[in-house]
């Protein structure tokens, strides 16, 4: 299982790969990932690679990712090429019409990629007083709700509960549930 996680510096991408890693290890699987620290974190484009299984290198080859988790619409679009044929994307979008661009639609169709878009900022504004730092938990929940990947919502909840700082545990779990409910059963 190969993930690409993209967004902007400061959006909490590292926490997402920590959650994915925690689950994999509790399943007895091997993990390997590559993170961005330093200059690249100052609000600029950030990309994390994360691989579960018997891999040697932490980097995902373009066209080989199973799942793209995107915290930012533009970063998501810029990195769709990482997805393999039949892969899936969870995308936080702020201007959903962009995803109607005919070129994007034909790219997704050609590669048979399922793109699950959610208005993350709107959800967090309405349901969590605009605290956008919970985007990472929201996206993780959405991934389970959309049925993309192999993780169950219970596994994600358990890992988030374990890894989130005590002060924000409840809020993180709420965001996971909001993301899950956005797609589950739809």
């Amino acid at each position: 299982m190969q993930y690409i996680i993209v967004g902007l510096g400061g959006q909490g991408i590292l926490f997402t790969s920590r959650v994915l890693g925690h689950i994999a290890v509790s399943r007895g699987e091997r993990v390997m990932g590559s993170e961005v620290h330093g200059m690249a974190q100052r609000g600029g484009s950030v990309i994390s690679h994360f691989k579960v299984g018997d891999y040697s290198s932490p980097l995902v080859l373009t066209g080989a990712a199973d799942l793209l988790l995107s915290f930012d619409q533009n970063e998501g679009i810029r990195n769709l090429h990482f997805l393999r044929k039949g892969g899936a994307a969870i995308l936080n979008v702020h201007a959903p019409e962009a995803m109607e661009n005919p070129h994007i639609k034909s790219f997704l169709a050609e590669r048979q990629i399922k793109a699950f878009c959610l208005p993350g900022y709107d959800i967090l504004r309405e349901k969590m007083e605009g605290r956008f730092l919970f985007m990472n938990a929201l996206i993780l929940g959405a991934m389970c709700g959309a049925g993309a990947g192999t993780l169950s919502i219970e596994e994600v909840r358990k890992a988030v509960e374990k890894l989130a700082p005590a002060k924000f545990r409840g809020d993180n779990l709420k965001a996971v549930d909001l993301g899950y409910e956005h797609f589950a059963g739809k």
Partner: protein, 618 residues
């Protein structure tokens, strides 16, 4: 007992350092090495070792402190990023000749790409230059394992040994085996010996040949006794290519071959690129006609081979001479070397969409609310015709507001200001020059430039952007903060003002960056003083880094669309993620996703279009 945990590569290295019984670990932060030392402190606390763990003021200091501690027979290490090793080059070249007592490990983290550096130089070259052995890990686990071997090798030959992790090892996250601490119970026991510890030319005449002999022996060891790092993976079928690979490039090749299920590729993995086990490589070369060398970033393996004409590598331009060897690059190189078609990666539809929607990578910016942005704004307002040399830190991002004209390396803001001063002075011209430097960088290498400028009477303004932290690398302490890493350790804070005055500066004023009108006045006053008195004048702009999340007044702002004329003054000269320009409406707007309500932008708009939202002040 072995226990698997997920660690960052840098944490794995730190764990190795503590487990290997290292007594003194000293570093200066720098991406991608910064997480190593805090992790050393964390493991030392957890495992209850006596390890001394310290941030030094710079890498030269770190190197000398750690190297000298090893003269007593203890295990020590100095940790830095690749450009930090440039700063420590002087002691490196010298200490390489010493007949050391305790194990001395140098960790120098490289940044192919580069992702967060001013060069993508290869520390292995420095190892070759200084004649010290170098390990080049391909994974976090291997990096940890190599720490033990590096210490052992250092003690076997009484010489410094380098571990060179590249960024993809430093910042990879992987399941790593942890173990117990080797309690070496070493006591400091410095044995005075002038021949050994004083680098007189007469001693070099003995030590240099001795160093050469040590290197020959290490090379023999690498040929025979380090099979866990240097090994061959023969092709399962008939080999059509032999790949010599080191570091993460090796790991990438392994993943590609697994996916391809190819049987015609043989690999020679090299984990000790200096001194190169030449016999091993030549033996591999003799058995393969089609040979490819993959290493980052300089041709260190290639350079050590007496005959490389058979190789597809950097010497003949087959392998790119710059940039990171990403999986796509390596895939294409292997296919090209095999004479097979390279897959058309073209995603024309996606490219067309990205072009149509003008989706571009977002460059790093100063954080919303960052005091540096306000300081830069005031600087330009006060001295718009100035030349602005700057330095290494978050504030290099002031380039986004056109307030950084030059950056060379740590501390060069001051020395560049001196250079500009002299160049214009010889024309008889008073050119305003404002150097900007952060508090940590000032202590790293700024003080010397300041002393030089006072002594030589160089007229310019030095703005010390004091956010009380080493921010760019993740918030480490420094002399201006005074905190130390290990539990129970207490440092002493050094204030900037007395240091500056002690260097002979007579004009020292502190300003609050958020008050741009007042700090602009201080900038003007400072330049007038500098010009009149032929000496540097210092302005300290003091406001805590936003990453410290200290409570401050919040001012909710809005852009009044009736007053905004779309001149882009705010985006060009203030450049805040919370204040983007809406190309559709041709007006600035507040992006609530990023705005932290610092309220500084109210002072920025020349048309008064940015307003406080009344009744919303908290």
């Amino acid at each position: 007992m072995g226990n698997k945990v997920i660690l960052l590569g840098n944490e794995a290295i730190a764990r190795g350092i503590v487990e290997a019984g290292c007594d003194v670990a000293v570093a200066y932060p720098g991406t991608p090495s910064s997480e190593i030392l805090p992790a050393v402190a964390k493991y030392a606390d957890e495992l209850g070792t006596r390890t001394a763990v310290e941030w030094a003021v710079n890498e030269k200091v770190a190197f000398e402190v750690a190297a000298t501690a090893s003269f007593t027979g203890k295990r020590t290490c100095a940790i830095m990023k690749q450009v930090g090793l440039n700063v420590a080059a002087d002691p490196l070249m010298s200490v390489a000749h010493f007949d050391l007592a305790g194990g001395f490990l140098i960790v120098s983290a490289d940044d192919p790409g580069p992702h967060s550096s001013q060069t993508e130089q290869d520390s292995r070259y420095f190892a070759m230059f200084a004649k010290v052995p170098c390990f080049d890990p391909a994974s976090a686990q291997e990096a940890k394992d190599m720490v033990f071997d590096a210490f052992d090798l250092s003690e076997k030959y009484h010489m410094p040994v380098m571990l060179r992790p590249a960024v993809r090892v430093d910042h990879c996250r992987q399941d790593v085996e942890t173990g117990e601490v080797r309690d070496l119970a070493r006591k400091a026991d410095f044995k005075k010996d002038i021949r050994r510890w004083v680098c007189l030319p007469a001693h070099v005449k003995i030590n240099h040949p001795q160093l050469n002999a040590k290197l020959d022996s290490v090379r023999e060891d690498f040929e025979t006794a380090f099979g866990r790092y240097n090994f061959e993976i023969p092709a399962t079928g008939k080999a059509r290519i032999g790949i010599i690979a080191s570091g993460v490039s090796f790991s990438i090749v392994m993943d590609l071959l697994k996916e391809w299920k190819r049987e015609d590729v043989a690999i020679l993995k090299i984990g000790t690129p200096h001194p190169l086990p030449v016999k091993m490589v030549e033996d591999f070369m003799a058995r393969h006609d089609n040979l490819l060398v993959l290493e980052e970033t300089y041709p260190v393996i290639e350079m050590q081979l007496p005959n490389r004409t058979k190789l597809k590598g950097r010497w003949n331009g087959f392998v790119p001479r710059a940039g990171e060897l990403l999986p796509e690059v390596i895939r294409d190189l292997i296919l090209k070397a095999l004479g097979e078609p390279v897959p058309d990666e073209g995603v024309p539809e996606l490219k067309a969409a990205i072009e149509e929607m003008k989706v571009t990578p977002k460059p790093p910016m100063l954080c919303p609310g960052c005091p540096h942005r306000a300081s830069f704004f005031a600087m330009r307002k006060a001295l718009p015709t100035g030349i602005y040399p700057s330095d290494i830190g978050c504030y290099t991002l002031g380039v986004n507001q056109r307030d950084v004209d030059t950056t060379i390396d740590m501390g060069a803001s001051l020395t560049s200001a001196s250079g500009f001063y002299l160049a214009y002075k010889t024309d008889g011209k008073d050119q305003p020059v404002v150097a900007t430097i952060g508090d940590s960088t000032f202590f790293h290498m700024g003080i010397l430039g300041l002393a030089n400028a006072v002594y030589n009477r160089h007229a310019f303004v030095l703005a010390i952007l004091d956010n009380s932290i080493t921010a760019m690398t993740g918030g480490q302490s420094n002399p201006n903060v005074g905190e130390k890493l290990r539990q129970g350790d207490e440092g002493r804070r050094i204030e900037i003002e007395p240091v500056v005055r002690g260097c002979g500066v007579s004009f020292v004023k502190v300003a609050e960056p958020y008050d741009t009108a007042d700090s602009a006045e201080v900038f003007k006053e400072a330049w007038e003083h500098a010009k009149a008195n032929r000496e540097p004048a210092v302005v300290i702009l003091r406001h805590p880094c936003m990453l410290l999340r200290q409570k401050q007044a919040r001012v909710k702002v809005r852009v009044n669309p009736d007053k905004c004329i779309g001149c882009k003054y705010c985006t060009n000269f203030f450049n805040c993620p919370g204040l983007p320009f809406d190309e559709g409406a041709k007006k600035a707007r507040i992006d609530e996703r990023f705005c932290v309500q610092c309220g500084v932008c109210i002072q920025v708009c020349p048309h008064g279009a940015i307003e406080a939202v009344e009744g919303e002040e908290a």
